[in-house]
């Protein structure tokens, strides 16, 4: 039995009269890969924001003390004309050039045999806004792992990436989980990904629908409960 690092009890998040998360309880163990799935508007991103203490909530969120948590939000847009290079962006987090190169290696943006010259000119001094979707996502992951976090919260790792690229990003996250013993919580739409990469799944649609090992808990009933109610959910959303 591995060590528990996050314990959430009766978490409720409301904005005005609108309850977004209701009475949610679950726990995360060290080295888990937890996939959070649910329809649009189910409160998945809000759950992350609550875990990071960005939004007010009731209930209990207990992280193990002195845990370093890194977060990659769903929305990260750099305008094409925003003058910032990859190097400058990574330096906002760490000034250690060695760590930067190591992180780039971890996310597959630098091969061991790459010359210093090559990496300087073709990646580090490249403008952030000119990177492809896949490259940008890897740079964001490099940014997130720069200070060796214990936990990575990743909201929709493959938003805006083509199908071929998706697989590589997930392989990469799995690799980080193995090599750096990083606990990963990710939000995903894609159930195939969940079966393949996650050892734990949390299905939410405002409330907890299922929680456990994907093969045990993702049964047809849970899926109907999770996604079947979507139409009704939308009908309510426009009340105010």
């Amino acid at each position: 039995m591995s060590e528990q690092i996050l314990n959430v009890q009766n978490l409720t998040v409301s904005f005005g009269n609108n309850t977004v998360i209701e009475n949610l309880s679950f726990s995360v163990n060290k080295n888990d890969v937890v996939a959070i799935v649910g329809p649009n508007g189910a409160g998945k991103s809000v759950l992350f924001r609550a875990l990071l203490q960005f939004v007010p909530y009731t209930g209990k969120i207990e992280w193990t003390k002195k845990l370093k948590v890194s977060y990659i939000p769903q929305k990260f847009n750099v305008d094409r004309d925003f003058p910032i290079t990859v190097k400058e962006f990574l330096r906002l987090k760490s000034n250690n050039h060695k760590d930067i190169l190591l992180a780039l290696e971890s996310v597959g943006l630098k091969n061991k045999q790459d010359e210093q010259h090559h990496i300087e000119h073709h990646l580090l001094n490249e403008r952030m806004g000119w990177l492809s979707g896949g490259q940008l996502q890897r740079v964001l992951i490099a940014w997130a792992i720069l200070d060796n976090p214990d936990v990575l919260l990743f909201d929709e790792p493959t938003a805006g990436i083509d199908v071929g690229g998706e697989e590589t990003i997930y392989n990469l996250l799995k690799k980080l989980n193995d090599e750096r013993a990083m606990t990963i919580l990710l939000i995903s739409h894609d159930l195939n990904i969940v079966y393949k990469y996650a050892n734990t799944v949390l299905c939410v649609n405002k409330q907890k629908i299922c929680f456990g090992r994907p093969n045990d808990v993702l049964d047809p009933q849970a899926l109907v409960k999770l996604y079947g109610g979507e139409a009704a959910f939308y009908a309510h959303e426009h009340k105010n």
Binding site: S70, Y71, P83, I84, T85, E88, L92, K93
Partner: protein, 255 residues
């Protein structure tokens, strides 16, 4: 110190400060904030003139109060800040126009760097140094806050506090710039050098440096042009900035 050198020094320093701070304002999409804010300075200038104080202090006090006021109101009310700014700032302009003694009105509206004295130079040196040092201290938070507020927060950066400090620095630079360009033209001193620098930079460090340099260049160029042409320095400096901007358009890098 010779009068012309004194004027050049004051104008160049203000150009540097405005270009430097302006580079962050443009990234934050706050280009027009300087323009709107400068109106608030007018009642402050008027009161300073009536009470025989240096107009800079009157302007800065008015700007400081307005900035902090908007920052607080934004949090306490549901009104969007652009509405607040719109109401607050035009009212100030109206009050300022009524209060400003007529002989000084033209200078307050358009600025007049030829009237500077050595105490102005002293104030300018201190203020520009404050702007540059403080901005570089908060630049990490500023940039992270622009890229992603949530990522900034996850790095334990206080985005609100960073923004308040930044707004106070904007008041300071606007109060300074009034001497050169006046209430009506001040906004251009922060926007134009930064916009021109953005055209020719791929990295932040270069961008910020070039914006400050363009600010100085526009000020010096504009001031020198008044030696040959029968035009006042304020509009001349703004036009010099415009010429720099047009020149950089041709040099914009494309991927």
């Amino acid at each position: 110190m010779n009068d012309l050198y004194l004027q050049l020094a004051v104008a160049a320093l203000i150009g540097i400060g405005a270009g430097y701070l302006g580079s962050f304002m443009v990234l934050k999409r706050m280009s027009l904030v300087g323009d709107a804010l400068s109106h608030v300075a007018l009642p402050g200038i008027a009161l300073a003139l009536i009470w025989n104080l240096n107009p800079f202090f009157g302007a800065f006090t008015a700007l400081f109060l307005a900035t902090v006021g908007v920052w607080i109101l934004e949090r306490k009310t549901e009104l969007p800040s652009e509405t607040l700014v719109g109401i607050f700032f035009t009212l100030s302009l109206a009050v300022g126009l009524l209060l400003t003694p007529e002989p000084e009105l033209l200078e307050a509206l358009f600025g007049d760097v030829s009237s500077v004295n050595s105490s102005d130079l002293f104030i300018t040196v201190i203020a520009v140094a404050t702007i540059i040092i403080t901005t570089s201290l908060i630049s990490r938070g500023l940039i992270m806050g622009i890229l992603s507020k949530d990522m900034a927060k996850s790095m334990n950066i206080s985005v609100n506090k960073t923004n308040l400090i930044f707004m106070i620095l904007i008041s300071l630079v606007v109060a300074l710039g009034l001497k050169v360009a006046g209430t009506l033209l001040m906004g251009s001193l922060v926007i134009i050098p930064a916009a021109a620098a953005k055209n020719v930079s791929t990295s932040i460090s270069r961008y910020v440096f070039i914006a400050a340099s363009f600010g100085a260049l526009a000020s010096i160029g504009g001031m020198l042009a008044t030696g040959f042409l029968p035009i006042p320095p304020g509009p001349s400096i703004v036009l010099a900035g415009g010429i720099i901007f047009l020149a950089t358009l041709a040099l914009t890098p494309r991927q």
